[in-house]
């Protein structure tokens, strides 16, 4: 696939102020160094792709951005001011929504209850303040429809959904709540052709609304289709950031795989990867 696609892209000026800027982030788990000084930022209205091999540290990195992990060292600037999120809830309140790789869904609970988990709409006041289930159900059905999935019923347990349907619930939820930053950790890994294209066009849509998108994918074509900038992580470090148009698909793919291994493979697979 060529670098130009059906999307208009963010056309973000190079000097745009980032919404979130991560400076020299390091993260250790005991003696494992998962991140060794990663600098990364997202500006409003852009899709910044984070690429890299398995175990490169992508998920760990976005988890420091969404308040799950505290970085061992390094600084986070949110809209220009230093910020330290103590919990995912705080990051969410700041307008950062995440689709985690493991989706963070509760199988025993209904789609609606999962969708609004932690951020339930309410009606009534004082002691009569209660979970507005009707409105929640409506919104859930509507948001899922926008993603191209017709739910059978909003009170269906998430455990009964297919893998892709479940992933779509997580994406719809994050899109709905991601007011400023939307982080997607391999959101299309279980999706069909139609839903994938839906997710990519959703990324395009929210980007146009001025949301900064962080998109993790192993699929170079998906990344090139929507990305404005591409950062490649390898063994906890950045290999560099490229703007759209500055880099070829094959180059990106080589970087993601750490270079030579893929080059050897390519011969035997006939360039199908």
């Amino acid at each position: 696939m060529s670098a130009d696609s059906k999307f208009h892209h963010g056309d973000v000026p190079a000097d745009a102020k980032p919404i979130i800027h991560m400076e020299e982030i390091k993260k250790n788990f005991g003696n494992v160094i998962a991140l060794n000084g990663v600098t990364f930022d997202v500006t409003p209205g852009e899709c910044h792709c984070l690429l890299g091999d398995n175990g490169a540290g992508k998920s760990t990195f976005i988890k420091t951005m969404s308040g799950v992990h505290k970085p061992s060292s390094g600084q986070i600037f949110f809209e220009g001011t230093p910020m330290s999120f103590d919990s995912p809830r705080e990051a969410m309140e700041a307008g950062i929504a995440t689709v985690f790789q493991d989706l963070a869904m509760i199988p025993l609970m209904s789609v609606t209850r999962n969708f609004f988990m932690g951020r339930e709409p309410t009606k009534g006041r004082g002691i009569a303040r209660r979970f507005d289930l009707d409105r929640a159900n409506e919104i859930t059905m509507e948001e899922m429809r926008k993603m191209g999935i017709n739910l059978r019923a909003p009170d269906q347990a998430v455990g009964t959904l297919s893998g892709g349907e479940r992933q779509t619930v997580a994406i719809a939820r994050a899109v709905y709540f991601g007011a400023k930053v939307l982080i997607l950790d391999e959101p299309t890994s279980a999706l069909g052709v139609r839903q994938t294209s839906n997710v990519l066009s959703t990324i395009d849509r929210v980007r146009k609304q001025g949301v900064g998108v962080v998109f993790i994918s192993h699929n170079v074509r998906h990344a090139l289709a929507v990305g404005d900038r591409f950062t490649v992580l390898n063994r906890g470090q950045t290999l560099g950031t490229a703007r759209r148009g500055e880099i070829e698909a094959s180059e990106l793919q080589d970087l993601m795989a750490g270079g030579q291994e893929l080059a050897q493979l390519e011969g035997s697979l006939g360039g199908t990867v």
């Binding site: 919990s87 988990m117 455990g159």
Partner: protein, 368 residues
């Protein structure tokens, strides 16, 4: 590409029958159990069991256990156990006794203080569980022994060597708050019903049942409030989420720590409430109060449809679970069966409930 916003009926879903919908309710097993047990006693027990006084007779212990059972169910839905609630009944009873008898505090001070004491211990339990990440089963098992021991030692200290603290009845006599925590409610109504000949009376015209024991009203009120909280409030959603998968819940913005600690405080307060009601009723407190109640409360919750793994269950289920419990304990005295069948019955019931719940869970999660 425009998002596909077409609304269409999914042709792959069969209309769900009423029975299937019912099957997905966690409390179904407990309601079925109540029906079965009622039928059993209708055939085997003396007809006195289902008169008004007979019903009050089994509902009173059911209520005392049920208050604990509903709290235990909420905690279990939140993914934790509390094995210390039985001992907490004894401990809170002692604290309450000391406040009313030794310190002579009025109920309006003694009750909130007792509750605060219990809630504090509940919070400590919860904090230890969260800090260490150990199973609550083990942490509160320690609490079971510590609180039981503390009740014994404390009673000896405050009574000068006895393990029973007497004089509570005299101490709370005439207190304006006492009718809310002791005795029978709606006495006037029952006297009126008796005068109309609508309820059974003694020869002198006073009703055989002087009113509804307050614990039954507490029990019903707590069941309703708990159900409302679980199903209709954000807090309820947080409890289910926390028990379902605390990591996923936390990453989705649920304040998991707060939820768990609140639930531990709640169970401790439920134990304190039972302690206050039963201590005023008995007029004294002793170290054996609430013995084995932690297990009975958990059994109640499980019969009520709670999964041991958390994230699933119901307060109404625990309500009916407690009624089953009360009916079986008291009901056997109305039959020709040996009382000691009780434990066999209970164990059987528990086994049946666990197997049944397991099937239900598979149904809800789509059999995976």
């Amino acid at each position: 590409m425009a998002a596909d916003t077409q609304v269409q009926q999914d042709e792959r879903v069969r209309a769900e029958s009423f029975a299937t919908k019912l099957m997905k309710k966690p409390e179904l097993g407990a309601i079925g159990g109540v029906i079965l047990v009622t039928l059993f006693f209708l055939f085997t027990a003396d007809s006195a069991m289902f008169t008004l006084s007979g019903i009050m007779n089994f509902m009173t212990p059911a209520a005392q256990l049920g208050i604990l059972g509903i709290a235990a169910a909420m905690l279990m839905i939140g993914g934790e156990f509390d094995l210390s609630i039985g001992s907490m009944v004894a401990f809170a009873g002692m604290v309450f006794g000391v406040f009313t008898v030794n310190l002579g505090l009025p109920l309006v001070v003694a009750i909130p203080l007792t509750m605060a004491f219990a809630a504090g211990i509940g919070a400590v339990n919860g904090s230890i569980v969260l800090k260490t990440g150990l199973p609550s089963f083990i942490v509160t098992l320690a609490g079971l022994f510590i609180l039981r021991g503390a009740s014994l030692v404390g009673l000896k200290i405050f009574t000068g060597g006895s393990t029973q603290l007497r004089g509570v009845r005299d101490a709370v006599e005439g207190d304006w708050l006492a009718p809310i925590f002791s005795g029978e409610a709606f006495g006037g109504l029952f006297t009126w019903l008796a005068s109309m000949g609508l309820v059974e009376t003694f020869k002198n015209g006073t009703p055989k049942v002087p009113g509804i024991p307050v614990e039954i009203l507490w029990f019903i009120a707590i069941a309703l409030v708990a159900t409302y909280i679980l199903l209709r409030t954000p807090a309820g959603n947080w409890i289910f989420a926390t028990g379902g998968d605390s990591n996923a819940a936390k990453n989705s913005g649920v304040p998991v720590r707060k939820v768990k600690i609140s639930l531990f405080m709640l169970t401790a307060c439920a134990a304190a409430l039972v302690a206050i009601i039963t201590v005023i009723d008995a007029g004294s407190t002793d170290a054996r109060r609430g013995f084995m109640k932690e297990f009975e409360a958990i059994i109640t919750a499980v019969i009520g449809g709670c999964l041991l793994t958390g994230g699933y269950g119901s307060a109404i289920g625990a309500f009916f679970g407690a009624i089953i419990f009360g009916m079986v304990t008291i009901g056997l005295t109305y039959t020709d069966f040996d009382q000691d069948w009780f434990q066999i019955f209970l164990g059987g019931m528990l086994l049946l409930a666990v197997v049944f719940n397991n099937v239900i869970r598979k149904r809800v999660t789509g059999e995976r």
